[in-house]
Symmetry: C2
Subunit: 302 residues, 2 copies
């Protein structure tokens, strides 16, 4: 199996990026990912003045997917996420939801044993996820630092981006130009203190293409849901975007009047918080697949 | 078993309310609840000009709980919620998350058969919940229309307020003065169009007291979580309040430094959206009980 090494990284998603590797649709391959600090934090007492802030949020890639053209959808199936045996979490002054109460830097390095991270004796079952994953944005959308989520993906920090899930991205450039990094061994929805359990990983993927269909925001498909992953300057903005797109999928996928789709969403669709601490906030609108199948959702896209 | 009839209702929670019924700690009783329209909408073609807007969101009660005094916590265990065999949902112009796209009133009355609501042939499994439930607010907090959620409870529209859950409210008045109504047969987290499947119900409850302990926001306990249910003018405001209180519970319940509690919350606590359409927005911060037990949480409250 092809292994794409973790030394090939980007720090921003741009429309024009030079690809580092090439894969084919339906090929299975492994991407080595760095933690969001590029493994610089190995010691709980490391002074933050020693941190090279130019090396934060590296994403491995870009990876050119053969046959991907602007106007297609790139499907990315996450087969497996293998993480190392320790992860790092920390607080920074003024950072996170409670930034006004956070006055000090504190670093905790947690060992992982038998699938559990250990925090002051509390055993937390891990659930590895990919924090940053995306493709080349549109030319109009400009450059996006890897720390920020937007329509091309990026730092969506969504706990459902895990083994077994399938992601859908709008392709805006030849080859799509996929890149990913920033795995978390565990994270709560919201990621309130600004970090999850940051950890290097090996992510096994398979990609595929849906030709001549496009979407506005990335989708995440799990066993039971198809989720619109939208971001905005506030959580309220992200909620509007995710809801608007999801109601359109219900309307077009089920041939409903808009008002019926709006009511059906209100009755069956959960809005879930992904993260509220990156430069933009991310929310996912979770459409149950027993209300709208993936097939019908895709059929409804013109 | 005592049955408290649905004709005894309030439309606002105030510090001074005359109670209509009395119950004892550990007594099991039934509360009949009206739907949020007081059953005025029985016909999909009913013109909204006929709706009496003074009779919206009735809450049955207030119910005086013997022995409850200011400075206590009222525990309310929801034993069962029985709902009728049809519910109503609707859109209004300019209402809900997508109010700017909502131009018409449309009413749907859905039959419920074998535990499923039927919407244009789609069978939606019901999961009955209580939309409005609360107690007398503090004198300083003033009056709260039943449509609005706040520290006393009210229209929290939280899907986890269902059979099997236990709620905790701060007591601000002799007898606590509990009132409830506005059941939904089914609702998605967010309630984006402004209504769930609105339905009359019979709610079986048991109440109990925790003496001389107080909380700022209502708590909802399920099998796996203890949730801080906070509300604010924006979802972002509600997130701050819910997170701040939850981190304090972790800090005091586990004897952690604040920064460690903040990190532990970031790793294990989900922020979930309750509703984003009432005059204030509601978010719940879900602390896993295998991280902090209910017993330790309560012990940590001074």
């Amino acid at each position: 199996m092809k292994v794409i090494k973790g030394d090939k990284v980007i720090y921003k998603f741009t429309h024009e990026m030079e690809y580092r590797d090439k894969v084919k649709p339906n090929e299975r391959f492994i991407v080595e990912t760095n933690d969001c600090f590029f493994q610089q934090v190995q010691d709980e007492d490391m002074p933050m003045s020693k941190l090279d802030y130019d090396c934060l949020n590296p994403a491995t890639g870009p990876i050119y997917v053969e046959g991907a053209e602007p106007g297609d959808i790139l499907k990315v199936k996450i087969i497996d996420i293998e993480v190392e045996d320790k992860g790092v979490t920390m607080t920074f002054p003024n950072e996170g939801v409670l930034g006004d109460q956070a006055t000090q830097t504190k670093v905790r390095i947690l060992p992982i044993e038998d699938g559990h991270a250990i925090f002051h004796g509390i055993k937390i079952p891990i659930s590895p996820m990919v924090g940053v994953i995306g493709v080349a944005p549109t030319k109009e959308d400009g450059e996006w630092p890897t720390a920020t989520p937007w329509k091309h993906g990026g730092n969506m920090d969504t706990t459902d981006i895990k083994a077994g899930s399938t992601l859908y991205f709008p392709v805006h450039q030849e080859g799509a130009l996929l890149a990913l990094g920033d795995c978390h061994a565990i994270m709560g929805d919201g990621e309130i203190c600004f970090t999850g359990l940051e950890i290097p990983g090996k992510v096994t993927l398979e990609v595929d293409l849906i030709k001549n269909k496009t979407i506005k925001w990335p989708l995440v498909e799990t066993e039971d849901y198809i989720m619109v992953n939208a971001s905005g300057d506030t959580v309220d903005d992200a909620i509007y975007e995710a809801s608007s797109e999801a109601v359109n999928f219900l309307k077009n996928g089920l041939n409903f009047e808009w008002e019926d789709a709006y009511m059906l969403a209100s009755l069956t669709m959960d809005l879930r918080i992904s993260q509220v601490v990156d430069p933009k906030m991310t929310v996912r609108a979770c459409i149950p697949k027993n209300v709208l199948s993936t097939e019908d959702l895709l059929k409804g896209i013109k």
